[in-house]
Amino acid sequence: MKRVIGVVALAAAVFVAQGASAQTLKQVKDRGVLNCGANTGLAGFSLPDAQGKWTGLDVDVCRAVAAAVLGDSTKVKYVPLSAKDRFTALQSGDVDLLARNTTWTESRDTTLGLNFTGVNYYDGQGFMVRKSLKVNSALELNGASVCVQQGTTTELNLADYFRANKMQLKSVTFADADQTVKAYDAGRCDAFTTDASGLYSERLRLAKPDDHIVLPEIISKEPLGPSVRHGDDQWFDIVKWVGFAMIDAEDLGVDSKNVDEMLKSANPEIRRLLGVEGNFGEQLGLTKDTFYKIIKQVGNYGESFDRNVGSGSALKIDRGLNKLWSKGGIMYAPPIH
């Protein structure tokens, strides 16, 4: 798969006369379907069920963009990508949008030809070990074998952390998450590392989830967010404001259930959000009721969080940093004005 994508990218870069720039909105509308780069399977973020229906926090980003652009949140083609294939797929135009628990970093933002549109989950890297090892802290992992997925910031943070704490590391890397988790489960490694949200999600897939614990240390900042190709500002703005609108909606107490009543609200902020007043969706090159459609079909950020990873899901992750700024977290969106 990776080589196929590599070669496609190569061929695309060499032979496509006009690189995909400033055309994404038109292409998506003409195609009638949004190509969205998703994880190959990470519970809570993007995972297809037995009927092939995708759900997850990242999937909701794809659905919201489809609702905004095409008016229908189901018009999405999910392209499952491994960690190391994801950027090439976006660069080469295989996907219009990458919503695949991807950490926003300086080098990715500047040298990979992509733009991050915001943060939809503030995460940090952690470790999982077997309870039987009686390890209570990541600082006790000197000399341990650690299973890690290739082509991730995780791989780099792991080497950094062990180096900074003068510990011996034996990393064992695999190309996809599935192989990595299987190897850890089979006892190939003492510890497994990935973003903390991923640890909780992957633990459900282990043979005996209760035999494993997540260590308390969070060793890195992992702001996860969607990204688009560099050079198409209109598309960049659309994806960015789809994310902001979902956060603003939660801030204003608008959700998928009360959105129709809220149309009659006297609050000018809500009226602007839902397109009753002003022409904020049109400024993006879409329709007035763009944000209304997102909230109606997908919901606000809080609903999406609870349904996929929070209290309403199997993962039951505490919202922590991902609470709204007004409730002790750092989720904050600029106003629609």
């Binding site: 990776k2 080589r3 590599g6 070669v7 990218a9 190569l10 870069a13 060499v14 032979f15 496509v16 006369a17 690189g19 720039s21 960690a83 190391k84 950027f87 090439t88 660069q91 080098s107 990715r108 500047t110 040298t111 990979l112 030809g113 090892l133 992992l141 000197n142 000399g143 341990a144 074998s145 290739q150 082509g151 791989e155 780099l156 792991l158 080497a159 950094d160 180096r163 590391l169 034996k170 990393s171 064992v172 890397t173 695999f174 190309a175 192989q179 299987k182 190897a183 089979a186 006892g187 190939r188 003492d190 190709r229 560099h230 050079g231």
Partner: protein, 395 residues
């Protein structure tokens, strides 16, 4: 000018109808076209990359890599090594598995190929069964089988099989590492001297056999020189060697030499798979030698062993070597399936992690392709040299 009409000027043909001029013109046009396409593709690619703000060029080669690699033959550390060093680590890992795979699959393939022609019913049927089973199952499945079904099923590190200070578990095979003490240099010199004398003895014995027909016990004498001599020196010096035993720490075994399951799975998978094809090549080669050669050899009083070794195989090699070369090339290229079992070969490290961290697909993929091309061409070149030595020399 074989024919020239007398008295008349040779019919002048318009220059554009001259076949020579035409063929040159066609070639020039083709060359120009190829160059133009190449130029357009390159500049276009650079343009597109620049417009998309994707970094280009080979500047990444000297940047710090920052990731760890599980098996390194040269010094490598996440803190100081560059992407360039990571490339060499991956390349050496590819070459290691390639070279060892070629050696193992050749030995196994020749054994099976010859066994298939054996008069022993059981032996030949077992060999046939091996070939038919192995070569009809995709290599990727076999690799996954070795890695997931065989090696991961080994006991956990705390319940390792222990034997003579070695440990076998699902993290690999850990054996004591021999470390030399002062004086071990004499043993090494003894080995070198033994090899030199053994080679000299071989040539002397062959010359004498040519001249007088007397045979000398070359094998026994060589064994004594190459193995016996260093051993004697070793014991006389009071065994200047100690072993670094693997120790079970809190998490892992430390010390000793470790053979990782990823490497073993890839090596086994590649060798066993390619051996099945080599066996068929060898069988075909041997069958290509006329049966009359065997009969002639027997009637001269030679035994079956020397007949095979001295009469049949040298003639069969002419048929065997060219297809054997392509099997070797297949093995090297198939080693890129390492990615399926997490072995850090060139593709896994360079086209995997380095490509992802730098995002420079164009450069990384192009370099990897060139490297595989180069390795394959060198292998072909060496095999061609060998082929020209064994091929039929017409006198």
């Amino acid at each position: 000018m074989a024919v020239e009409s007398v008295g008349a000027q040779p019919a002048r043909v318009a220059f554009y109808n001259d076949p020579k001029v035409r063929s040159i013109a066609y070639q020039v046009v083709l060359c120009v076209l190829v160059v133009l396409v190449f130029y357009w593709a390159t500049t276009n690619a650079l343009d597109n990359l620049q417009r998309a703000h994707v970094a280009s060029g080979l500047g990444f080669w000297h940047q710090a890599a920052g990731f760890d690699i599980s098996q390194t033959l040269i010094d490598y550390s996440a803190s100081v090594s560059t992407y360039g060093t990571a490339f060499w680590v991956g390349l050496l890992n590819t070459l290691l598995v390639g070279v060892l795979g070629i050696i193992l699959s050749t030995i196994l393939g020749f054994t099976i190929g010859i066994s298939r022609l054996s008069k022993n019913w059981l032996l030949s049927k077992v060999a046939t069964g091996y070939v038919e089973t192995i070569r009809n199952i995709p290599l990727l499945l076999q690799l996954l089988f070795w890695y997931n079904a065989v090696l991961k099923a080994l006991p956990d590190i705390r319940d390792s099989h222990k034997l003579f200070g070695s440990y076998l578990n699902n993290r690999g095979l850990f054996v004591p590492e021999p470390l030399s003490e002062p004086g071990f240099g004499f043993v090494e010199s003894a080995l070198a001297i033994g090899i030199v004398i053994a080679v000299a003895f071989y040539y002397w014995a062959r010359k004498r056999q040519m001249a007088t027909g007397q045979q000398a016990p070359v094998a026994l004498v060589s064994l004594a020189l190459v193995v016996g001599l260093p051993l004697v020196v070793f014991f006389v010096l009071g065994m200047p060697l100690h072993f670094d035993l693997p120790q079970l720490g809190r998490f892992n075994l430390t010390g000793g030499l470790a053979l990782q399951p990823e490497f073993v799975a890839l090596l086994l998978g590649l060798s066993i798979y390619t051996a099945a094809f080599i066996a068929e090549v060898v069988r075909a080669g041997i069958l290509a030698v006329s049966h009359g050669q065997t009969e002639a050899s027997y009637s001269l009083g030679m035994k079956p062993g020397p007949t095979l070794r001295l009469i049949i195989v040298p003639q069969a090699m002419r048929v065997i070597v060219p297809p054997l070369t392509s099997q070797y090339l297949n093995l090297i290229k198939n080693s890129s399936l390492a990615v399926a079992v997490g072995y850090p070969d060139l593709v896994q490290v360079f086209t995997g992690t380095v490509l992802n961290q730098t995002g420079q697909a164009l450069e990384v993929v192009a370099i990897t392709m060139l490297v595989y091309l180069f390795i394959s061409l060198v292998t072909s070149f060496l095999m061609n040299i060998y082929n020209s030595r064994v091929k039929l020399v017409e006198r």
